[in-house]
Symmetry: C2
Subunit: 285 residues, 2 copies
């Protein structure tokens, strides 16, 4: 039986009560429109904790005025059914004004890690993410929190935040879940027309080409990046970035070492997709 907590106080009480019963809390923060990627995080939380909480909140603070806040998919009934089928203990689904009541004026911000890549193309985005996740962590209390590696920079930022602020939270990141043809699962995939859906695979084709080249010994970052960029250039309408970076700091590198993160953000019509792979690390995308 999956309980629904509609207010911050009810969610805190549910997590506190679980801890009092000796349970460990596993937290999966989401914006809803749940797909197998999210549900793999639920399974990962269940494997690490005895009380699993999913939060569903389309956080206005992390959307720019030009972003897709209004059209972001809201599928609460289906989300709740998916959570129930996966044995989630509590779903927290607050109203925006319960999270940001009148007079709200506090922000949590991470520095260098938030500047490149998503931070450069979505100013203010990460401040919105860190602020809401800090609130969710504080409501949930000591827990293990599971995030997907599709948002590669985000999981680095949230891990940094938890460490820097001494939050009693273990941040765990889990592998990307892909469609049979390789497209990374994303709530935004449902924006794609059938024709765009076919073109979208160019990203994973690029990632695979770079992964295979790295596997074959290529270490030159310009070469690896170019291999990934070529199919994306051909299929997408615009590219925000294709970049090979240090996998921990996201700093630029000239030569890939044992591992390197290759990250892509690109547009198909009004839809922006992101994806990534860690070169030198299983699984192949």
């Amino acid at each position: 039986m999956t309980a629904v907590a509609g207010t911050p106080a009810a969610f805190r009480a549910a997590c506190d009560d679980a801890r009092r019963r000796g349970l460990r809390v596993g937290l999966v923060p989401t914006m809803g429109a749940l797909h197998e990627g999210h549900l793999s995080l639920v399974d990962a939380a269940r494997a690490r904790a005895s009380f699993v909480a999913v939060t569903i909140f389309v956080n206005p603070l992390q959307f720019a005025p030009t972003d897709d806040l209004d059209r972001y998919p809201r599928t609460f009934d289906a989300d709740l059914a998916s959570c129930a089928a996966r044995g989630v203990d509590v779903v927290f689904a607050p109203a925006p004004d319960a999270m940001y009541p009148p007079g709200f004026q506090t922000h949590v911000a991470v520095g260098d890690l938030t500047e490149p890549l998503e931070g450069a193309f979505r100013p203010g985005h990460f401040d919105g993410v860190t602020t809401v996740v800090a609130k969710l962590f504080n409501l949930a209390g000591p827990c293990v929190a599971c995030f997907g590696r599709k948002d590669y920079q985000q999981q680095l930022v949230l891990r940094r935040m938890a460490y820097d602020l001494d939050l009693p939270v273990e941040v765990v990141s889990l592998p990307i879940v892909r469609e049979p043809d390789g497209l990374a699962r994303s709530s935004r995939n449902r924006y794609l027309s059938a024709e765009e859906r076919t073109r979208a695979c160019a990203i994973v084709q690029g990632l695979r080409a770079a992964w295979d080249a790295f596997d074959g010994g290529e270490r030159d970052v310009r070469a690896l990046t170019a291999l990934c960029r070529a199919p994306v250039d051909a299929a997408f309408d615009a590219i925000d970035y294709v970049a090979t970076r240090d996998p921990e700091t996201l700093a630029p590198v000239d030569r890939a070492q044992e591992r390197a993160a290759l990250l892509v953000a690109a547009h198909l019509g009004p839809t922006r997709l992101i994806d990534n792979v860690v070169l030198g690390e299983e699984p192949r995308p």
Copy 2:
């Protein structure tokens, strides 16, 4: 017996252990150089909690390069003895690099409330305060935290932070403790020469003049502020501000209502003193 925790991990463990034993944690964050003002906070914490933790940390993040970080008094042995005499359970005294290890890059910031007054004269100060106090709250866990009203704006800012971020902390603020002649107790009073110490009383004389006028029915903010400002002008070397504000938002007001905060910051040689009173509220300063 007062335990000393030298690392964040040891401090967290001490507070977690207290809670496991069914105790409620009372937290008193300080920068050391403890005086009766701080010790009144210890007593207030003891009245509200069964396990009292004092933190002693001269937080570099809240000092500007031109501030008195280097000469700020450090009196750890005396502080520890004072805590022991007052029955403190644990003193947390971390090294700066334990609080801010290499790579540290996360900040907590409160908005509008931090802009005027101290925020205007000490840029970045409150970001340093909110960041370190968020860390201390996260290490201590659910608790009641006691702050002094001499730092009037600070206690408003910290209460706002705790509320906005859903921190499981009850923020309590306690009355200013004064010397027999009315000077507010402050670690910085020990910077004053004998002659400056005499002149320093001009602030409380100004606060009393305004408090008495308010008590007699005066509600015009310009008149109340001028009454306070006159003796400070005469005795101090420079004034940062003398201001009468809304006691909750610190917004400017033309006429005082049932309550108003009158706040002062001024310099005697190299020493900067602050003080305040809430007009319409006991006690008379």
